[in-house]
Amino acid sequence: MNMVNAINNALDIKMAEDKSVIVYGEDVGVEGGVFRVTEGLQKKHGVERIFDSPLAESGLAGTAVGMAAAGLRPIIEMQFSGFSYPAFNQIISHVSRMHNRSRGKYKQAIVIRMPYGGGINALEHHSESAEAIWGHIPGLKVVIPSNPHDAKGLLISSIESEDPVIYMEPKRIYRAIKQEVEESKFAVPIGKAKVIHKGEDITLVAYGAMIREAQKAAALAKKEGISVEIIDLRTIYPIDRETIAESIKKTGRIITVTEAPKAFGVSAEISAIANEEAFLFLEAPPKRVAGFDTIVPLPKGEHHYLQTAEKILYEIIRTVKY
């Protein structure tokens, strides 16, 4: 399965299992989504359970608040994360707050799926990585898979979560990675990072499409005699401090890799965790390989912006030599 198949499969399983699961969004029904993630699901589960919405992101999020308050489990799709901003008011003012405001009376079991990230030669607003914005909003969980297996397991957990989840899909690797993924239901827990490559000298934390770059960088570093440990963060919030701290205590060095701009980002949070949880173990300052604090350039300039294995290697060497 590739990631598109895996997400489709998770949606299919939960729709079959739980009548309260409703899927809707722009073009998700007849067409099966612009990336074909929901292809075939309307035929199988019917137009009342998976349907095309009017073109209105605020409408999607706002109606999901009502559906969830009334006991449904809506899964809405923002066609691209860059088009989710009309829904900002509903997500920040209600999706993330209704449970607290109503003192637990009204659950918000909502999943907001959105493809994100660059590297696909797209038009403006189709390449951003805005996970830090969502991570900053109290009341939301934020999840980003890096491979088909996790995409399926994390989506199952997200749909089963009683709290709202922003489920971000790295569209650049939608079809790039194929894995054997069990057809039956399984869950990958939210809030647990995973050490996907053991190493001794330095820790790389990454997620989404940046895992591939981290793996390539680790291979390059090996040739330089540097042993790299890679953590796939998998959940942006609630963040797994323990796994990060444990790794730093072993390696003494940490670099976070993100596509997103550097300032006030996930990488800043991880650097803070390094300081808070493993300060005395650090042999070098926590480093960040992140996007510039600029708008993602259009395709002809995107190569300047995107993180590469070589850029990561450059920082690995500098950090190890520090």
Partner: protein
């Protein structure tokens, strides 16, 4: 005209039929032969370019592109009426209007090849860049309209959106603001029947879009958007209305997106060949051409002569765009702020150090 075509009456302004015959002499706009031929040639040029761009995209020479195919009469009419000082606030499917504003094809090519520089439109006065987030641009148009009133200027704002865009909150807010301010804005909804794959009937339960004007206390009119004369008449009357301090107008131009939403889209997934063929009969160029030929203003021979010239010119501009050159690292940074903050300067310098290191390694 707005009284006669009040949307509550469920009438659609139409002046020629599908064969180019005049069916509404009373409202036929007064255009001389030269203007008519120019209008047709502009539309023909836009269509020729549009179809060629789709081909360039298939050849991998340009990135994602949203075709205008089938909707040329809407921009074509605006193009003949819009003045140099008027504002154009685009969505992304109005090529004829951009060209009339002074944008060059070369710039459009550069934009769709993936350079921000393509959004500069150096010689186009009062033309905001293409706006990708659906409907968001309409509020900008209302804001410009406020400035026009504030400074007592003789200008009009032309702004565009699709039928899908009318579902966004920004559409309603823009009409409401412009209505309250009596802003001289002409909102043109290109109702091309689809928001990507979503058909109009799933976009709104309303019988058309024009009628939504009434709730905002502004004029609205539904027009056959594939009828150049009807579009011309509607835009001409709207411009008079808006210039006269009477506030905005909502024009619903009923048309059909003959092409895909963008080159990444496949319409065979969600609509039938029969439907496409039915709409082919209403094609805007076909109809205007039939009128011109019947009135001895145009001939197939002239068309056969001119299209190759257009193609040559379009290709020349395309090749120029292809040779636009490298995207410099500095171009990522230099327009982020009027004055570059030190922090960003440092990021650029750090990256340059990395590039030197990389070069030394290889």
């Amino acid at each position: 005209m707005f009284k006669e075509y009040n949307p509550i009456k469920k009438k659609r302004l139409q002046i020629i039929d599908n064969d180019g015959k005049v069916i509404n002499q009373k409202l036929m706009p007064k255009l001389d032969d030269k203007q008519l031929i120019k209008a047709y040639k502009d539309m023909l040029f836009a269509r020729t370019a549009d179809l060629m761009i789709v081909n360039y995209q298939r050849q991998g020479r340009i990135y994602t592109y949203p075709p205008n195919y089938g909707q040329e009469a809407i921009s074509g009419a605006v193009a003949q009426i819009m003045r140099d000082d008027d504002w154009l606030v685009p969505a992304f499917r109005e090529m004829g209007a951009y060209l009339a504003k002074g944008a060059s094809l070369k710039e459009l090519f550069i934009y769709f090849m993936g350079y921000e520089d393509g959004s500069l439109f150096k010689n186009a006065k009062n033309f905001l860049p293409i706006s990708v987030p659906i409907s968001s641009q309409l509020l900008h148009a209302s804001g410009i309209g406020y400035e026009i009133n504030y400074n007592n200027k003789d200008q009009i704002v032309y702004t565009f959106v699709g039928d899908g865009g009318t579902s966004e909150g920004d559409f309603h807010e823009a009409l409401n603001f412009a209505g309250v301010w009596k802003a001289p804005v002409i909102f043109i909804v290109q109702n091309n029947q689809y928001g990507i794959s979503t058909p109009f009937k799933m976009q709104t339960a309303s019988d058309g879009i024009a009628i939504k004007a009434l709730a905002y206390g502004i004029e609205g009119i539904q027009v056959d958007g594939n009828d150049f004369f009807a579009m011309y008449k509607a835009v001409e009357e709207s411009a008079k209305h808006a210039s006269g301090g009477n506030g905005p107008v909502l024009i619903e131009a009923v048309t059909y997106r003959k092409g895909a939403h963008t080159t990444s889209d496949d319409p065979t997934k969600y609509r039938t060949k029969e439907e496409e063929e039915k709409w082919d009969e209403t094609d805007p160029l076909k109809r205007l051409k039939a009128y011109l030929i019947a009135n001895k203003l145009w001939s197939e021979k002239e068309e056969e002569k001119i299209v190759p010239q257009y193609k040559k010119e379009i290709d020349r501009q395309f090749i120029e765009a292809e040779n636009y050159g490298e995207y410099a690292l500095e171009d990522v940074f230099k327009f982020m702020y009027t004055e570059m903050p030190q922090d960003i300067k440092n990021q650029m310098m750090e990256h340059e150090k990395f590039l030197k290191w990389k070069e030394a390694r290889s």
